[in-house]
């Protein structure tokens, strides 16, 4: 079947913060750039980022990039690569000032400088005390960033293909990536986007869990495409959980509720945090509270019909305090938990929030597939943002570092694309089978007359991840989780949809998204089962401590044969002394 083809210097898949930052730099260098996006760019999940972007501007008190680097290395539980972390922290001020010059409406100090506020984990003088490092635009930093970058891209003549879904990468026999095959949702037209450079910026895949704060669009499309093209996924066992998402919905309940005196109860009405953290109780750090909640549920003390959630009690604060100090909580509890929180507790569970792992890249955004000690760059393929693993977040991300990550590495990847295209200007011949894989996936969905329900397989995947690979992990449960996920991988090959229409067929889109989610989920489960230590977000009951002798290693999962490979963490920064691993206490 002949399919249409268009040629671009660079194709960027995804139009969130990292995709837009990369595309802007490419378009301003006069390259012909296409950006593919499932949704209108300003509706990307970056819009949900509230906290701000970290940069050691020092606008309110002394600060410097080396302190920021220390915080990030420590926050990563020493799994972050220190060359990448130095690179990011040194580039942070420039990244923020560039955004300011693009028109980003940052909050200001009275004398007109960018206003900065403190954020958890960000400290002065190597952990001495809080520092004001976060640059924000009220509680809508991500929203403002997307709008600013989108407008600049329009000005720079980036070509947007909105409501196009990228299906698969095109690789030739030499392993070079030559573009993507994508489908227009309105017509079901499939087209080859041939490119000298292909940049994945598809964001995270938090929808692999039943309890997720992520929007529905976060289905790991770049991870699925990479995995199917033979590119490994790195450190997928590390997912950040927030303790208080509304059970069954995922919507976040702010930590401020516990700050104001709310507390957690199990089904027996016991304030169980007194047992786990006798001093600070419900105000212990996110991971401690999440682990305690998971243990209560696991040991049969969860509330609800199936003992599946914990209760967040705040009615004792009184309606007046709730309305005054916690604006919006009443309406969120009512809307998403159907609970009047001035009278009854809110059902909550630890909820998946952020993906630390992803497509392996170096600091120039080049994707690589390690082969023994050889880094083995995948020529023509780049990645940035939450879908990538540089790795700056290691085993645990600090707040406000995600927006910084996407700005710095979005631009850095674009700079590398420009360098690579300058050396190698010609389009390479496409292989004859360039579109075979995605066309076969589509043909199967068109022709199948029976098979597995997309909704049921998706639900089984989410249940399995939630039950066997959640915030607190148990060896037998992980092993069972691997068996169950491998069964899900088989089932997803046989999904079936009744609707064969071609105009905005959302059933088919969801089937295609599920293919990507399942790659993410199985890589997570297998990587987690194999890592025999506890570090950052990966917490195992049978190996409760960090093991720096054996596990200062990044995990690489290859789809073919579900093979795992490891590579030592880069402890050597670019120019400064290494931060050696120490216990992570705050």
């Amino acid at each position: 079947m002949a399919i249409a083809k268009r040629q671009f210097d660079a194709v960027v898949v995804g139009a969130g913060g990292s995709g837009l930052r990369a595309a802007l730099h490419l378009a301003e260098a006069d390259l012909k750039v296409a950006v593919l996006s499932k949704v209108f760019p300003t509706r990307s999940y970056t819009v949900a980022a509230q906290g701000g972007v970290a940069a050691s501007l020092g606008n309110d008190g002394e600060d410097n990039w080396h302190w920021h680097m220390f915080d990030t290395v420590k926050g990563s539980d020493y799994l972050g690569d220190q060359d990448a972390i130095e690179f990011m922290c040194r580039k942070a001020n420039e990244a923020v000032y560039e955004l300011e010059h693009f028109g980003m409406p940052f909050d200001r100090t009275p004398d007109g400088r960018i206003y900065q506020r403190p954020f958890g984990g960000q400290t002065r003088n190597y952990g001495e005390g809080p520092v004001k490092r976060s640059c924000a635009a009220a509680d809508r930093t991500g929203h403002a960033m997307l709008h600013t970058l989108y407008q600049r891209n329009v000005r720079a003549r980036t070509q947007f293909f909105v409501e196009w879904m990228a299906l698969d990468l095109i690789r030739n026999q030499d392993g070079e990536v030559l573009g993507v095959v994508a489908m227009e949702m309105e017509t079901s037209e499939v087209m080859i986007f041939q490119a000298k450079a292909t940049l994945l910026a598809t964001g995270g895949a938090g929808r692999i869990y039943s309890a997720s704060t992520n929007a529905y669009i976060n289905t790991g499309d770049g991870l699925g495409m990479a995995a199917r093209a033979g590119v490994p996924l790195e450190d997928m066992e590390f997912w950040q959980f927030h303790p208080t998402g509304v059970a069954g919905a995922g919507v976040l309940i702010t930590e401020g509720v516990r700050g104001e005196g709310g507390f957690l109860l199990n089904k027996d009405g016991e304030r169980f945090m007194e047992r786990y953290a006798p001093t600070v109780k419900d105000l212990a750090s996110r991971d401690v509270v999440s682990r305690a909640m998971a243990t209560e549920i696991k040991e049969g003390r969860g509330a609800g019909k199936d003992g599946e959630y914990i209760l967040l009690k705040l009615d004792h604060l009184g309606a007046e305090v709730i309305d005054k100090r916690l604006p919006g909580i009443r309406e969120i509890a009512m809307k998403f938990a159907n609970v009047d929180c001035t009278k009854n507790p809110i059902p909550v569970v630890p909820t998946c929030h952020y993906q630390m792992g992803g497509v392996p890249t170096n600091i120039h955004g080049q994707v690589y597939a390690p082969d023994g000690a050889d880094e083995n760059i995948v020529r023509g393929l780049y990645a940035a943002g939450e879908c990538s693993c540089v790795s700056v977040h290691g085993a645990n991300r600090l707040g406000t570092n995600s927006l910084l990550d996407l700005l710095v590495f979005g631009k850095s990847a674009a700079e590398q694309v420009i360098r690579d295209i300058a050396v190698d200007q010609a389009f390479k011949d496409l292989p004859n089978d360039a579109a075979d894989r995605p066309l076969a996936r589509l043909a199967r969905l068109y022709s199948a007359t029976s098979g597995e329900s997309v909704a049921e397989v998706g639900a089984e995947m989410r249940r399995t991840m939630q039950l066997h690979c959640g915030v607190f992990r148990f060896p037998d449960s992980l092993a069972e989780g691997v068996r169950k996920m491998l069964a899900v991988v088989e089932r997803v090959k046989h999904t079936f949809i009744k609707d064969k229409s071609k105009v905005f067929n959302t059933a088919r889109l969801e089937a295609l998204e599920l293919d990507n989610l399942v790659e993410t989920a199985v890589s997570t489960m297998i990587s987690a089962e194999a890592r025999k230590e506890s570090r950052g977000a990966h917490d195992r009951s049978d190996h409760p401590n960090r093991d720096d002798i054996n596990w200062m290693q990044h995990t690489f999962w290859f789809k073919e044969g579900d093979r795992l490979q490891y590579k030592p963490v880069k402890l050597k920064p670019l120019t400064v002394e290494s931060f050696q691993p120490k216990p992570r206490v705050y």
Binding site: V39, R43, M185, E186, A215, Y216, A249, K335, V503
Partner: protein, 83 residues
């Protein structure tokens, strides 16, 4: 009764309910399951207008944090707010 719109147009509207904020995904999914296929032409036109709002502005309207500038949206917003 003639359907107010086609299968493809309904699919497009459903897709336009995929947002950057989970809160909106949930609200809009529930609304679609209850109402989308029985909206009349006038309601559909208004719904399309609402979906053109930015995510945070739309969420503010849905949660009742801001009042709509155009009172024509009132009835639809009430349906969106119904738990």
């Amino acid at each position: 009764m003639e359907p107010a719109t086609t299968h493809g147009e309904l699919g497009k509207l459903r897709w336009h309910c995929r947002r950057g904020l989970l809160e909106l995904d949930l609200v809009l999914e529930q609304f679609n399951n209850r109402h989308l296929e029985v909206l009349d032409a006038g309601q559909l036109a208004l719904f399309k207008e609402l979906l053109a709002f930015g995510d945070n502005d739309l969420l503010d309207l849905v949660m009742g944090r801001t009042a709509p500038a155009d009172e024509r949206y009132g009835a639809l917003l009430k349906m969106l707010r119904t738990p």
